[in-house]
């Protein structure tokens, strides 16, 4: 039986169409994925992301532990609450998961990892943490609600206590703060401003209800996927996994090469890969012809198969189809994609496609 988040009853009450996602009963949409998508780009929408895994890491050696565990360097986090996006890699450079880690203080970091990778992530964390005597504590007691969109912060402030609203309103992007039992972070997965709020499970329904009252639109996994795709954000398991390295996954920017003395898991493999020529890269595609790109379609460039799409779909903001694709490094300008037997013309672009409600690509 699929698990229920603390917001299950709210999804039913809001008319959610529930599906099994990574073993969780989650809303795919509440009627119209397109309307939900547009609500986030134009006003505010919210997502139950309680299925994601929150892990608290504590101990005297938690910082050196994370500097060894992650390809990005937590030494960049100097101010309490600052967040960092990173890959967690195998020795061979394959991506075990992508995650966000928050620096709370020198002996306490908080990490959020994917739902679908929970079991292997926890096993890996426990295994690597032992040598550093770091405590790994999964926070089953927390639910998480993401409120996203140009009006999201203002509408969220209206349902928070005065102290919480004050703390939240002072947050810079990619920072989080604990306030009166709520952990509020100015982060998200949509390319819009907003918050991800971690709330004690028994208070989640109340928070959700208050946000509904404010006019924040409940949004399902469908809109979450089309929003993140427009924002050019990777989806673990689709755009990268253990068989692909960050260098082939548009995640080169998340690898902290300096200082060169920092040894992190996967470093040797990435350095070797970086020295090699050839290989592949993750690019954005915009469909110039009519139709819809989907995952696992063949990309053809100058007449030869050169890779495949890893995610694809319709971009409601652009009104045309977009995709992420892993292709040979030389692929540029225009390519074709085999869409159900038809060779359709695409423009190769650098993601993101959309940020803060606006298109960020030019179609030739």
């Amino acid at each position: 039986m699929a698990k229920k988040t603390p917001l299950y009853d709210q999804h039913i009450a809001c008319g959610g169409k529930l599906v099994d996602f990574a073993g969780w009963n989650m809303p795919l949409n509440y009627g119209s994925q397109l309307d939900e998508h547009h609500a986030v780009r134009s006003a505010a929408g919210m997502f139950d992301v309680s299925h994601m895994t929150v892990v608290d890491l504590t101990g005297d050696k938690v910082k050196p532990f994370l500097q060894y565990l992650l390809a990005n360097d937590v030494d960049k986090l100097k101010l309490s609450g600052k967040a960092l996006y990173s890959g967690m890699l195998r020795e061979d450079g394959g991506v075990i998961d992508d995650l966000i880690v928050y620096y709370i203080h020198d002996t306490f970091y908080r990490m959020v990892v994917n739902a679908g990778t929970r079991d292997k992530d926890m096993a890996w964390l426990e295994k690597q943490a032992a040598a550093f005597a770091v405590d790994v504590n999964e926070r089953h007691d927390l639910a998480m609600v993401a409120v996203q969109g140009p009006s999201a912060r203002e509408m969220a402030h209206a349902v928070l206590s005065a102290a919480q609203a004050d703390a939240a309103s002072q947050l810079q992007p990619f920072f989080g703060v604990e306030s009166e039992g709520l952990f509020i972070a100015r982060t998200g997965y949509t390319g819009e401003d907003g918050y991800e709020m971690m709330v004690p499970a028994d208070q989640a329904a109340q928070l959700w209800g208050a946000l509904v009252q404010q006019g924040v639109r409940p949004c399902g996994l469908g809109a979450r996927d089309s929003l993140r795709l427009e924002a050019g954000m990777n989806l673990y398991g689709s755009d990268m996994d253990e068989t692909t390295s960050p260098l082939e996954s548009g995640m080169g920017w998340t690898i902290a090469w300096e200082p060169s003395t920092r040894h992190f898991i996967g470093r040797k493999a990435l350095e070797a890969q970086r020295r090699q020529s050839g290989g592949s890269k993750l690019v954005g595609l915009v469909l110039l012809d009519k139709g819809v790109l989907r995952a696992h379609q063949t990309v053809v460039w100058n007449g030869d198969p050169m890779g495949e799409t890893t995610s694809g779909g319709f971009s409601p903001t652009l009104g045309r189809s977009i995709a992420l694709a892993r292709v040979a490094t030389e692929v540029s300008d225009e390519c074709q994609v085999d869409v159900r037997g038809k060779m359709l013309l695409c423009q190769v672009v650098k993601p993101p496609f959309v940020r803060n409600g606006k298109a960020c690509i030019k179609i030739d």
Binding site: L28, S32, Q33, L34, G222, G291, V292, R294, F314, S321
Partner: protein
Amino acid sequence: MSNIPDTLLYTSSHEWVEVLSDGTARIGITDHAQELLGDMVYVEVPEVGDEVKSGEECAVVESVKAASDVYSPISGVVVAVNETLAENPGLVNGDPYSDGWIMRIKIADQGELEELFDAESYQDVIDEEDH
């Protein structure tokens, strides 16, 4: 509950047929089908003059979720297609039996109509799927 008008005929692959008095038939996908597929983002219609055969692919409906083939319920020649779907594929969701029609064909064999379901039998098809 999905809407199943009494005046139409249906297939087990969730297309509907409206038999018109001039020997042609309008064809689309059912309310149940559009609900399963979710918001439509692209509909590939056939070309006028195309010959379609009963049970064979004649169009593609693409929703936010996936692409699905539409199978022609009966054989015939396409005499009209719904051009407005190019600009507004959402008509298939909002009005599947009227403004969301896909094509109109000249019926080749009236006998094929007898193979189709009436509203009551089509309801049984849906009920069985749900169980």
